[in-house]
Symmetry: C2
Subunit: 378 residues, 2 copies
C-alpha cells in the first residue's frame, strides 16, 4: 500500500472514525484504525463493535485531486498514535507506505514516522446491511431529533433498554422517545415514506451522541437503513453503524396527561435563568428541588431553600396563568435540560396537580414534548 | 451593612479573591469571602492562610459612581455560593444588605437571595506589612518573570524549598531561579533601586501562578514589599499577600556551564514542532526521551524510538552547528516547556557533552537561561 493524501482531509477522516475507537476494548485490533487504499480512494474504519464508523476519501473531488494512489493495499495502525501523529505533521501532504511485516512509513516534509501496523485481514468485518428500504432525513433535522431527545436517556444500566432512544415509525411519522423514568423527551417528524412501512427499534444513546458529533450542519439527506439488529446512517462519505438494543421499549403513551389543571405561558429565557439561579442553592439541599408557585391572574414564583446556606425567591412575569392555584417541586436539572432544547421565545407548561407529571412545550408546536415527574415535598 | 454595586465590577473582584479561597481549609471561616463596606468603597478578601487576596472597589472612578454605600459594615459569605450567585444575577446592579444574625440579602431585579453569613470579626487578619521599601516592576514584566520561571519548580514535597521560585535582589538586579533538580529556569531583570538593597527569598510557585492570573496585561507598576516571612504585591485596587518558604535555596550558580563544546542555532518554531512530534512516541517508551544528533557543518537530527510502537526521525535545518559531534538524550517535556517561554525566532543551545547539563537561550539575550539535564541512554 502506498498513497499520498491531503493532510487536512486525512486529519478530518481520522478524527471522525476515532470516535468509534475505544481504548478499553477486549479485542486488541479494535484499538487500531483500518486503512484501505483502493483505485477509487482511501477508506478509514474505527469500531468498538457497538459502533463502527467508515470514512471514505475519494481520489478526486470536483477537479481537485485529494489522494494519489501508487499502490492499493490495507493496514491497521494504532488509533491513538496515528491520530496524534497526523495532526502534528508539518506539511500539507502526507505519504503513507506499508513495507515488509506491516511496517508503515508516514512521511511529511522531513519528518518520517515508522509505525508497527497490523494485518488488515484480522480486522472484524462491518455488519452487512441490505438497503432496499432507506429512510431519508435532512442532516440538520436528524441532529435536532437527536439533541432534543438523547439527553433524557437513562445513564444507569439497571434497565438497559432505557439507555437508548426509541425510534418508532408508523403512518409515515417518526416518533423518538427517551426516558430515564424521571423525565421523558418526545419528538415527532414527518417522513416521506409509504404509510405501511413501520419500525420499532431502540438506538443506544451513546451511538446517537457520537453520530451527531460527526455530522456537519447542513441540509443534505442522510440515508437511514434499519434492520433487526443494526442501524446504518449513510451521510456523504461517511457510514455510521450502530447495534440496536435488545428488548421491548416500555409503552410511554399512557404517561402523558391529556388534560391539565394549571397552564402557564412564560418567556423561555427568563424562566430558564430564574430556574438556573434557584438551582444554585437547590444543589446543596438533600432534595435538590426548586419550587414553583402559580397563582392564577397573579404571579409565578420560583424558590429554593437550603436551610444551612440560605434561600432564594424570584417572581416571574407570566404571559398567561390559567386554572387552579399550584405549588409544585421538581429537579432544576431536568427543567433546565428540557428548556435548553425547546426552541422559541415562549414556553407553555401544563400541570395536572402537584403529584402528576407535567408537560413543557412550545405554544403551537406539537412535534416536541418534554415531560417531568415532580418531587414530593409537601 | 448595605450597599448597591455595579454587577460586573462585583463579579470581577469576587473572581479575583476567590483564587485564594480553598475548599480544603481546616479553618471553616476561610471558605468564605470577607466583605467590608466603608465610606470609601467596598473591599473583598479571600485567603487560604498561605495566600491572601484583597480587592477594593472604590465608590467612584473618574466621574462614574460604582458603589453607593447606604450603611457601612462587614460580613463573611460562603465563597462558593456567593461567587456563583453574583455571576448569575439578572440586572446590572446588585444590592447587598446584612440584616439580623448575619442574614444577608442579595437583590438584583426580581431575584432575592438570603444567605447565612458569618461574623467578619472572626475572619483572620491579613499580615501587617510595613512598606518603607518597595520594589516597583511593570505588570507585564512581572508576568513574564513568573511565566518564564515558575513552570520549572518542583511539584514534589520531598524538598519543599524547590516548590518555590528563588527571588534574589543584589546590585539593583533581580534574579529569579526555579529548579526541580532535573531542569532549571533563570530570569534576570534590572531594578530601579539603590545598589545596597538586597533580598533573598523563596516565593511558593503556586502563589506566583495565582498572582499572574489576576494581573491584567499592562505596564502599570506593581509595588512589591518583601519581609522576612511575607511578600506583598500591590497592584491597582488589589493586594496580594503570600507567605515565603522557610529554608535556604540551594546555590545553583555552579550548575551552569561556563563553556560549551557544541553550539547550535535553530529556528525556534521548527525545533519546537520537531520535538513535539518526536515526543508522541517518546511518551510510550520507559525512558520517555528524544535523541538529538548534531554533526557540525552537516545537520541536526531529532529522533525517538519506542520498540513496540515504532520510531520517528526528522532532520532539522540549523542556522549554525559548531564544535564537536554530539549524541544526547533528554526529556521532550522539559525541552518543550523551556522553548515555550523563550521569545524570539531563533534559539541557541549550548552543549558540553552528552552527560552534562545544556543551556537553551535566545541569541543576544542574556536575561533568560533555561538549563536541562540530559538522560543517560548511551
Amino acid at each position: 500500500m502506498k498513497f499520498t493524501i491531503q493532510k487536512d482531509r486525512l486529519v478530518e477522516s481520522v478524527q471522525d472514525v476515532l470516535k468509534a475507537v475505544s481504548s478499553r476494548t477486549t479485542i486488541p485490533i479494535l484499538t487500531g484504525i483500518k486503512i484501505v487504499a483502493s483505485d477509487d480512494g482511501v477508506s478509514f474504519t474505527g469500531s468498538d463493535s457497538d459502533i463502527s464508523i467508515e470514512s471514505f476519501i475519494p481520489k478526486e473531488e470536483g477537479d481537485k485531486e485529494i489522494v494519489t494512489i501508487e499502490q492499493p493495499g490495507s493496514i491497521v495502525l494504532q488509533a491513538r498514535f496515528f491520530s496524534e501523529i497526523v495532526k502534528k505533521l508539518p506539511m500539507a501532504t502526507v505519504e503513507i507506505e506499508v513495507q515488509n511485516q506491516y511496517l508503515t512509513i508516514i512521511r511529511s516534509g522531513k519528518a518520517e514516522f515508522n509505525l508497527n501496523g497490523l494485518d488488515a485481514d484480522e480486522y472484524p468485518h462491518l455488519p452487512q446491511i441490505e438497503e432496499h428500504h432507506a429512510i431519508q432525513i435532512p442532516t440538520d433535522l436528524l441532529k435536532n431529533l437527536i439533541r432534543q431527545t438523547v439527553f433524557a436517556v437513562s445513564t444507569s444500566e439497571t434497565r438497559p433498554i432505557l439507555t437508548g432512544v426509541n425510534w418508532k415509525v408508523e403512518q409515515s411519522e417518526l416518533l423518538c422517545t427517551a426516558t430515564d423514568s424521571h423525565r421523558l423527551a418526545l419528538r415527532k417528524a414527518k417522513l416521506d415514506i409509504p404509510e405501511d412501512r413501520s419500525y420499532n427499534v431502540v438506538i443506544p444513546g451513546k451511538s446517537l451522541t457520537e453520530l451527531s458529533k460527526i455530522l456537519d450542519d447542513n441540509q443534505e439527506l442522510v440515508d437511514i437503513v434499519i434492520t433487526e439488529t443494526q442501524v446504518l446512517f449513510k451521510a456523504k462519505n461517511v457510514l455510521f453503524f450502530s447495534r440496536l438494543l435488545d428488548g421491548n421499549y416500555p409503552d410511554t403513551t399512557s404517561l402523558i396527561p391529556q388534560d391539565s389543571k394549571t397552564e402557564i405561558i412564560v418567556n423561555t429565557k427568563e424562566f430558564l435563568q430564574a430556574i438556573d439561579r434557584a438551582s444554585l442553592l437547590a444543589r446543596e439541599g438533600r432534595n435538590n428541588v426548586v419550587k414553583l408557585s402559580a397563582k392564577p391572574a397573579e404571579s409565578i414564583e420560583i424558590s429554593s431553600n437550603s436551610p444551612e446556606i440560605g434561600k432564594v425567591v424570584e417572581a416571574i412575569a407570566a404571559d398567561q396563568i390559567e386554572g387552579e392555584e399550584l405549588n409544585i417541586s421538581f429537579s432544576p436539572k431536568y427543567m433546565l435540560d428540557a428548556l435548553k432544547v425547546l426552541e422559541g421565545a415562549e414556553i407553555r407548561v401544563s400541570f395536572t396537580g402537584a403529584m402528576r407529571p407535567f408537560l413543557i412545550r412550545t405554544p403551537n408546536d406539537e412535534t416536541i414534548v418534554q415531560l417531568i415527574l415532580p418531587v414530593r415535598t409537601y
